[in-house]
């Protein structure tokens, strides 16, 4: 990868170029692995690439970069993902 000599608003491919954006989160997605049917809808729809896909198609959430938009919870057909306000546990 070549870096250009000009000082302007250029960013190069790198994990977390803007730092740990997960700190911006207000709502946190919680995954219930028992309900998950491995359909991968959350993995497809996550706009931030914060859903990690394993070899067996099970998924996990990368809280370092998840901004808590809730798209995954909305797309999940079996309600395996719920949104919790940070610092508050749902009953």
């Amino acid at each position: 990868m070549k870096k250009y000599p000009v000082e302007t608003s250029l960013s190069y491919p790198k994990k977390g170029a803007m730092g740990k954006t997960g700190s911006w989160r207000v709502f946190k997605p919680i995954l219930d692995k028992k309900k998950c049917v491995k359909c991968l809808r959350c993995w497809i729809f996550c706009p931030e690439g914060s859903i990690h896909r394993e070899k067996d198609d099970s998924v996990s959430i990368d809280y370092d970069y998840c901004k808590g938009c809730g798209v995954c919870a909305n797309e999940c057909n079996v309600k395996a993902i719920i949104m919790e306000r940070e610092g508050e546990k749902k009953k």
Binding site: M1, K2, P5, E7, T8, L10, S11, Y12, A17
Partner: protein, 384 residues
């Protein structure tokens, strides 16, 4: 080498095409129209081999130039007055993105009321966008400046867009002879364009991403440094072009009969050319007065103004007005002198709305300043 007897607009178009831009995107507006029409003729006759994009507005013209430049192409456009104002947002964008777009702006009045003649309020109101601004006073200077503008914009120590300004009608529509060097001279002078950054699928980058204050601060600082570098490189490039073509119109200023002058007149654009006749007449009448025609408004030649202030009292003519303050050149001249010189500065607002400023008018203004009867800033012709 050939002599071209033609208007400022058509000579600017000739220069632009000879610089071999890969993309021209433009929208016509009086009094710039004949410039882009001339480029269209060069497309038709095969002299211009680049991409010519007819866009739906000036905002789009600048956007297309930004896109093409970001993809690594040499780009050119031209506009005037309201067209330039419509581009305003994208002018900032081109400069912050460090894209070496070259543009001719034909200085025209801003409406309302509807008026197509010359004044410089259009480009003056773009002075903080980061663009380098050069003002021409003859068709030969327009040709030579457009060629040099590409060299300047693309220089690795600058990498900023450049605006070449010419006065509406007085230059844009007046035929004057200009010497046109052969294509090889221009090719050798400019060389092949190598972009300093570009959007490239083989070297992926994101442009215009979100950035925090710390990086943003650095980007602004780097632009300022690039403009300061231009203060040294504009004279250097002007010298190099003189070697290549034989033509030289001054560097940051063009000085005329300034030796022993006790009063020095500062003016821009076509008034700068007209001023030479006034200086001849005034010197004949025994006045020790010279002319410093400002060519480069951004970067502002602060050090040169201070030197002038150590030698003489300064007389400034502005064909613009920063409403609520004063003429833009007058304002900046005084800022440069602050704490550095005891020189007296007198400012005149003249020629707004395309009002003629003849050498007789310039003589009268100089005499008033020399006699010390003028107020600090005078609206010429409206004193009472």
């Amino acid at each position: 080498m050939t002599i071209m007897m033609d208007t400022g607009n058509r000579i600017a178009a000739k220069a632009a095409v000879m610089a071999r831009p890969e993309v021209v995107a433009a929208y016509p507006i009086t009094p710039q129209t004949t410039l882009v029409e001339a480029i269209a003729e060069y497309v038709a006759n095969g002299e211009f081999k680049g991409e010519y994009i007819c866009v739906e507005s000036e905002h789009s013209a600048m956007c297309a130039c930004i896109g093409a430049s970001a993809a690594g192409s040499r780009t050119f456009t031209a506009t005037s007055s309201h067209g330039l104002l419509l581009m305003h947002e994208m002018l900032h964008w081109a400069a912050l993105a460090r894209l070496p777009v070259v543009m001719c702006n034909i200085n025209r009045v801003i409406g309302p009321g509807w008026n197509i003649w010359v004044d410089e309020n259009d480009s003056i109101s773009q002075r903080d966008t980061g663009w380098i601004q050069i003002y021409c006073s003859s068709n030969q200077e327009i040709y030579d400046t457009v060629i040099q503008a590409f060299k300047l914009a693309e220089h690795q120590k600058i990498v900023l867009p450049v605006m070449v300004n010419l006065n509406a009608f007085i230059l844009s529509h007046t035929s004057m002879p200009a010497e046109i060097p052969d294509q090889q001279t221009v090719d050798d002078f400019l060389g092949k364009y190598t972009p300093h950054w570009k959007l490239d699928i083989d070297n992926p980058t994101t442009f215009g991403n979100i950035i925090g204050p710390e990086y943003y601060f650095k980007i602004r600082r780097a632009m300022q440094e690039a403009q300061m570098n231009a203060k040294h490189l504009i004279p250097q490039i002007a010298k190099d072009w003189k070697k290549a073509s034989g033509y030289f119109h001054g560097d940051l200023f063009e000085y005329y009969k300034c030796d022993d002058a006790e009063h020095i007149l500062l003016s821009m654009g076509a008034i700068g050319a007209e001023s030479k006749i006034a200086i001849d007449e005034l010197q004949e009448a025994g006045h020790k007065v010279g002319l410093a025609r400002l060519r480069v408004f951004r970067p502002f030649p602060t050090e040169e103004v201070r030197k002038l202030g150590k030698q003489a009292n300064l007389i400034v003519i502005d064909r613009n007005i920063s409403i609520g303050s004063e003429g833009a050149l007058f304002n900046e001249v005084k800022a440069a002198l602050y704490g550095e010189s005891e020189a007296k500065a007198t400012g005149f607002i003249a020629g707004l709305g395309g009002k003629d400023v003849t050498y007789k008018d310039i003589e009268t203004m100089c005499q008033k300043a020399i006699q010390g009867t003028a107020k600090e800033q005078v609206w010429y012709g409206m004193e009472e």
